[in-house]
């Protein structure tokens, strides 16, 4: 009963830590993809009186001319009585940004663009995406803090468990020492428990991860966000495996080497 309880504490703590690491990574990844996605879809349209190849604004990642020939052709067909050859047709450009702009940033960019006297008009998109974006930023920060707290809680639980282990195993390890047992011999059973617990936690965590990533909710969100999210299970398992082993191994070494 006692040993089951001590297994449970370590296993649960490890699961909490592993799961928060995993969710943290997933969340960052999704956010990153989504950010890239909306930056890609976001653009500013400008109208210029002369051709532009580059502008001295660091935020801008590309300047693409908008082909308006077809529009002009349509106009020509519609208004046959107007002589278009005398008309000075301005140049249209679509500007892509490096990052999704905050409202302040956007204003700043607009101002910078308007400082060029050949730029006659600057058109930005509506702010609905900005709202979603800000919401996501907020969500990202709070989730990160939350995950961090869970991981800390997991560590605290493990430390608590170490104290229990120390009490439980101290006498036996002391007697072994009186007969000249080396550290690995004294710690053998603890190392075994730690190894077993980290395997159990890893398996349980993987099950939870599988459930989460295959849930309708999760997939709906991914679809809503319209991103190409692909989880590399192999990498995640390796990362969690290493983390799990390291934590439980270090914990047991602390107990074996530490004094009562």
């Amino acid at each position: 009963m006692n040993s089951l309880k001590s297994h449970l504490t370590l296993v649960l703590s490890l699961i909490a830590i592993l799961l928060s690491i995993f969710l943290f990574r997933i969340f960052s990844q999704v956010m990153h993809l989504y950010q890239k996605n909306i930056v890609n879809n976001y653009s500013i349209v400008i109208v210029s009186t002369k051709p532009i190849t580059s502008l001295n604004i660091s935020e801008i990642s590309s300047i693409n001319p908008i082909n308006i020939n077809s529009e002009i052709k349509k106009l020509k067909e519609k208004y046959k009585n107007i002589d278009f050859s005398n008309l000075k047709i301005p140049f249209f450009y679509k500007l892509k940004l490096k990052n999704f702009p905050s409202p302040n940033k956007l204003q700043e960019i607009q101002k910078q663009l308007k400082n060029y006297d050949f730029i006659k008009k600057v058109m930005t998109k509506s702010s609905s995406q900005t709202k979603i974006y800000n919401l996501l930023i907020l969500l990202k920060t709070t989730t990160k803090i939350f995950m961090f707290l869970i991981a800390i809680l997991g560590f605290l639980l493990i430390i608590k468990q170490l104290e229990v282990w120390k009490l439980l195993h101290y006498e036996r390890m002391y007697i072994m020492e009186l007969f000249g047992a080396p550290v690995w011999f004294k710690g053998a059973s603890l190392f075994k428990i730690a190894f077993l617990d980290s395997i159990i936690s890893l398996i349980l965590t993987m099950c939870l991860i599988f459930l989460i990533t295959h849930s309708a909710l999760f997939n709906n969100i991914i679809n809503e966000l319209n991103i190409n999210f692909q989880l590399n299970y192999f990498n995640e398992i390796i990362l969690l495996l290493i983390t799990s082993f390291l934590i439980s191994f270090i914990s047991s070494v602390i107990v074996v080497i530490g004094k009562k």
Partner: protein, 221 residues
């Protein structure tokens, strides 16, 4: 025979309290030694310094090559593998059964489990405890635990056996059983040190006596 233990002007302290005043003695390899003295005289303390659990305060003490004044952790382990200690409070591992307890010194030296088990059974036989092999320490009487501890202290053929009051809790039959075990070990060349209030009656082999009185260790021929 050569000197196994050499103590020169040693003192033993617990913090500021001196238990043993400057004393000198030696133990030859192959000796059968009784360490006597009244309760509280310092027998257990002296034995503790011999298995390097407690350091001497001053003076010099050697067991073979081991300088007990400046012994480190790995040397301590090495020394202890060559000793067989019977503790006054037995110190059996409570979550292990008796046979596994007796196997402990063999497991530490790396002997494989099945061989160790077979040998442990032989030694349990010698102390008439083979029928309790699968029992746990708390299921045994004090005297039975003591005999298990003695089997554990002798199984790995140590250079020296340090036994702290090994027969104090035993009836005459068990006591003579245990003493015979020590005598047999001694005949094989193992040095025996037994701490005891007194020397058993009709003990008829040659022995040496170290006696502690008023904080000093005396070597009696």
């Amino acid at each position: 025979m050569g000197k196994l233990v050499l103590a020169k002007n040693i003192t033993i302290n617990y913090n500021d309290t001196q238990i043993i005043k400057p004393s000198s003695f030696s133990i030859n390899s192959g000796d059968f030694v009784f360490l006597t003295g009244i309760s509280g005289s310092g027998k257990t303390s002296l034995i503790k310094t011999l298995y390097a659990e407690h350091k001497i305060q001053s003076g010099e003490m050697y067991i073979g090559e081991f300088n007990l004044k400046k012994i480190n952790k790995s040397k301590t382990s090495l020394l202890r593998k060559h000793l067989g200690v019977v503790f006054q409070d037995f110190k059996l591992i409570s979550e292990w059964n008796i046979i596994k307890n007796v196997m402990l010194p063999l497991l530490i030296t790396g002997i494989d489990k099945s061989n160790a088990k077979e040998m442990a059974m032989q030694y349990l036989n010698k102390v008439k405890l083979s029928h309790k092999a699968d029992k746990f320490p708390f299921e045994l009487s004090g005297g039975e635990q003591q005999r298990a501890a003695i089997a554990r202290a002798t199984i790995h053929n140590p250079v020296m056996i340090l036994a702290d009051e090994p027969i104090s809790g035993l009836d005459e039959y068990s006591a003579s059983l245990v003493m015979d075990l020590f005598i047999e070990a001694n005949k094989l060349g193992i040095t025996i040190v037994i701490a005891s209030h007194s020397i058993p009656q009709n003990f008829d082999i040659l022995f040496k006596q170290l006696h502690i009185e008023k904080g000093k260790i005396y070597e009696l021929a």
